[in-house]
């Protein structure tokens, strides 16, 4: 097992190196240059030339890459052109918002998707099954940003039940020791703030979780259908165990194996989905930050942000792989 984990960890190194090359090349393939972006449209050609020299943009590309890689390996992603703040600090500031939103979306997808898929399988071929299929298709088909706008319009603008923007009511004065607002409200025992933070999470989490919800529902349904015809399930039923016990102990537990894998993968995908959701809800996380950076051609943020999100994605997948190996020993030997 240890060897498997070490092997998987070692594989992360070339993956991250490959990613760094891709990001480095991609940013330089964009029209313009970081220097023209840095100096703005009123910069003279002489000033641009001076900056190119000063910051090493006239050096060969491979030297620039090595230099950049050294910085990245020290977690030095540079300084934002737009905000003049260190990218690392911005990540620290904004990552908790995205993490909370992602976890909330995941909870929404699992809490609704698993029961929905389970009962769809139990009612296989009946109205409930067809309805769940329909809901799943809708969930997968509607673009996240469109769903976000619709949800916001109905539940915030028209009905006024939920807020439209941000993480917390700006009039609430509460401490943020960790920047994870849900956690902060619990730590400080500020239940009013907790309720407000949760209210701010509902619409973005539903919008962001709609696609994972559909996928989790379909995977759960398929897994339950598979498992419930297994010999051991039939045996359990033949022994006279109550149906609820059979479902809980034998069907659902075994069906959770593929479900857990898909949940892990969705957790990574949610990070990229957060770009649109956070923009619509002005949620101050990594997603809206990256979106602004792309519009502003804020190259250090684009590079640092993408690398960080990619790193998270790789780490989530690594954990999924290792966990899966723990659950299913055959994985280690394949």
């Amino acid at each position: 097992m240890l060897r498997y984990v070490v092997r998987r960890l070692l594989l992360v190194v070339p993956i991250l190196l490959g990613l760094s090359i891709l990001v480095f090349v991609w940013v330089r393939a964009l029209p313009g240059s970081p220097i023209s972006s840095l100096l703005g449209e009123r910069a003279t050609p002489a000033l641009v030339a001076q900056y190119r020299e000063r910051y090493g943009y006239n050096e060969p590309v491979y030297k620039q890459y090595v230099k950049q890689l050294r910085s990245w390996s020290r977690a030095d992603f540079g300084t934002s052109i737009a905000t003049h703040r260190e990218v690392k600090d911005e990540i620290k500031q904004r990552f908790p918002a995205t993490a909370e939103l992602t976890v909330a979306a995941l909870i929404f997808a699992v809490a609704i998707g698993v029961p929905l898929g389970f009962f769809a399988a139990k009612k296989h071929g009946r109205l409930f099954d067809h309805a769940s299929l329909f809901i799943s298709l809708i969930g997968v088909s509607i673009p996240v940003f469109f769903l976000a706008i619709i949800l916001k319009y109905i539940f915030a603008v028209r009905l006024g039940w939920l807020p439209t923007v941000g993480r917390i009511d700006v009039l609430i004065e509460t401490k943020h020791p960790t920047n994870f607002y849900v956690l902060d409200a619990i730590i400080t025992g500020d239940w009013h703030a907790l309720w407000d933070v949760l209210k701010h999470l509902i619409l973005p989490a539903v919008a962001l979780g709609s696609i994972p919800l559909a996928i989790v529902t379909r995977i759960t349904r398929a897994a339950v259908l598979d498992v419930q015809n297994e010999d051991y399930v039939r045996t359990a039923r033949a022994k006279g165990l109550p149906p609820l016990t059979v479902d809980r102990r034998h069907v659902l537990r075994n069906a959770l194996l593929p479900i857990s894998t898909i949940i892990g993968l969705q957790a990574g995908l949610l990070l990229s989905g957060a770009v649109l959701t956070e923009t619509v809800f002005a949620f101050p996380g990594l997603g809206s930050w990256l979106r602004d950076a792309i519009f502003n051609r804020d190259y250090p943020v684009i590079q640092g942000g993408i690398l960080f999100v990619a790193f998270l994605f790789v780490m989530v997948n690594l954990i999924v792989d290792i966990s899966y190996a723990i659950i299913n020993p055959r994985i280690r030997y394949s």
Partner: protein
């Protein structure tokens, strides 16, 4: 089997955990009303000397004050921390008499020492502070520093500041300048507490990967001025909170708290207003104005235009545009009114000259060029470029500017009207950044191109002086008469004489036609009707001192 459930539970928990622990992260004033105001982004930082963006200035203008200011809602210069001023006959010595009884938010007294401390601070900036990303406005107005560490900087305008008693200072300049006084309204030149600047490391900073970063805490946690609001806190991505300055020397703010929050999209800001999450928001999209007006509890506050969209007419060797009659034909052949009516959502005004009407120096007597295709054809046939006169016309893509919301449609309408006026137009386009602007600036964007300008401060030199005070590759013309009058106007220290010079210059420019201005556009604030006393200033700011929420 129980083990498998535990293990699968572990996967879910682990996925959540990696999100939460990666890289070790995680780490009222009274019964007076609170106003929540939405801008488009966070401030850069809150030391106005080191920023040049409107989001930062919105906050610093509420906290800090300059020696002079613009009367709210106008571009008229008025005394503020200085009660009066005088200039010497050679225009190089300025004496300011200072307001008494003014205190900074940290309790220290505002007096002549503070004024000289601020001027000397700017003048003595060195190293990374001389980077273009740090001191844009200082460099734009004052040219250079005491010791220029960065190549390309010019000789400094400022020479010295001397205290003449507690409430009088004498500032000496190295050369005559008419822009010195008007430029003092820019928030970058606001007075800040010397004690706080020193205590919180305001003059500590460095360049990181080409971008200036203050390393002291002043610009993030301790901005200290004399204004009607005091800084309380700043949570990046969420809000800047200001509270009423109960010791303010003038009319005290009616608000107890002013909260400025960033909401990046215009739709997001509109919906936050509709949902009551903000009391007002800036930079409302022109297309949302009707929606706001249609809501019985909301209103629109209009900010007078402070920009200009224009068509560059590029002259140069062998260019048909060297002929005045061809330039006049272009002016008559552009259906500017139609463009303004069609593509500005009611926010545009026809521009007949290069400065907006709110600025001193705007003239009602400039030559006008109403759309007249027949006259354009007549002019062409009597010129060196007969009908059909071929022109290359450039426009930008992937951009929407405040003065030019839809460049492609502007171009299409102009192309049609020019072709009906005897021109044969070859269209060219390029992405705004980096290609288009560079081509316009170096004079390679055809005979005609669409471009514009948003003003930085309330002085005509910031418009016509920027365009026409000397030769520029963009326009490609040499006209010593125009260059001279604009240089003279920029150096003139008598307000009356300056205004007369700029009026004359505008009239000369519109006769000579180095370009054709076509639109000034308003910008808008959306607000609840219960918000009163808030004033939109033409230069882009918002005046909160008299604001209240009923």
């Amino acid at each position: 089997m129980r083990g498998i459930v535990l293990k699968t539970g572990f996967i879910t928990a682990a996925c959540a955990a990696v999100l939460l622990v990666t890289l070790g992260l995680g780490g009222s004033s009274s019964a007076r009303p609170t106003l929540i105001y939405a801008g488009a982004a966070d401030p850069t930082y809150l030391d106005p000397g080191l920023v040049s963006d409107g989001e930062s200035f919105r906050v610093t203008e509420a906290i800090m004050e300059g020696l002079v200011y613009l009367k709210p809602g106008t571009t008229q210069l008025r005394p503020r921390l200085a009660t009066k001023w005088a200039t010497s006959s050679d225009g190089k010595t300025w004496t300011f008499w200072l307001r008494r009884g003014v205190k900074f938010h940290d309790g220290t007294t505002f007096a002549s020492g503070a004024v000289c401390y601020n001027f000397n601070r700017w003048y003595n900036w060195s190293g990374p502070f001389q980077d273009a990303s740090a001191t844009y406005y200082y460099q734009a107005i004052y040219g250079g520093f005491k010791h220029n560490d960065v190549s390309g900087l010019g000789p400094p305008l400022f020479r010295s500041c001397a205290k003449k008693g507690k409430y009088k200072v004498v500032i000496k300049l190295n050369r005559k300048s008419g822009t010195f006084l008007p430029s003092l309204v820019i928030s970058s030149f606001a007075m800040q507490s010397p004690k706080a600047l020193a205590q919180y490391g305001a003059d500590e900073g460095e360049l990181r990967n080409g971008s200036f970063v203050p390393t002291g805490s002043y610009a993030f946690q301790h901005p200290t001025g004399t204004g009607p609001f005091k800084f309380k806190s700043w949570t990046v991505g969420e809000k800047v909170e200001l509270v009423r300055n109960n010791s303010y020397w003038g009319n005290k703010a009616k608000l107890g708290r002013l909260i400025i929050r960033p909401i990046g999209t215009t739709t997001g800001r509109l919906q936050a207003l509709q949902n009551g999450e903000v009391n007002a928001y800036d930079l409302a999209a022109p297309q949302d104005v009707a929606t706001i007006k249609g809501n019985s509890s909301l209103k629109v506050i209009t900010r007078a235009p402070f920009n200009v969209a224009y068509v560059t007419i590029h002259q140069g060797t062998g260019s048909p545009m060297n002929d005045l009659k061809v330039r006049q034909a272009v002016a008559y052949g552009l259906n500017r009114q139609q463009v303004v009516d069609s593509f500005y959502f009611g926010a545009g005004k026809l521009a007949d000259e290069f400065i907006p009407p709110s600025l001193p120096g705007w003239s009602s007597k400039v030559q006008k060029y109403p759309y007249n295709p027949n006259k354009a054809k007549q002019l062409l046939n009597s010129s060196s470029c007969h009908v059909p006169c071929h022109v290359d016309f450039w426009y930008p893509t992937n951009v929407s500017r405040p003065y030019m919301p839809d460049p492609a449609r502007n171009f299409q309408a102009f192309q049609a009207s020019l072709e009906a006026s005897g021109f044969s137009v070859t269209p060219h386009s390029a992405p705004w950044r980096p290609t288009y602007v560079a081509k316009v600036n170096d004079g390679t964007a055809g005979d005609l191109n669409l471009i514009g300008w948003s003003g930085d401060y309330g002085d005509p030199d910031n418009f016509v002086g920027t365009f026409f005070k000397s030769f520029s590759a963009q326009f490609g013309f040499q006209n010593p008469a125009i260059f001279n009058i604009l240089t003279k106007a920029a150096n003139e220290t008598s307000v009356t004489k300056r205004i007369a010079l700029y009026k004359k210059a505008n009239e000369m420019i519109m006769k000579y036609l180095p370009g054709v201005p076509y639109a000034h556009s308003n910008s808008f604030i959306g607000a609840q009707k219960r918000v009163h006393g808030m004033v939109a200033t033409p230069v882009g700011g918002t005046w909160f001192q008299g604001a209240t929420v009923g």
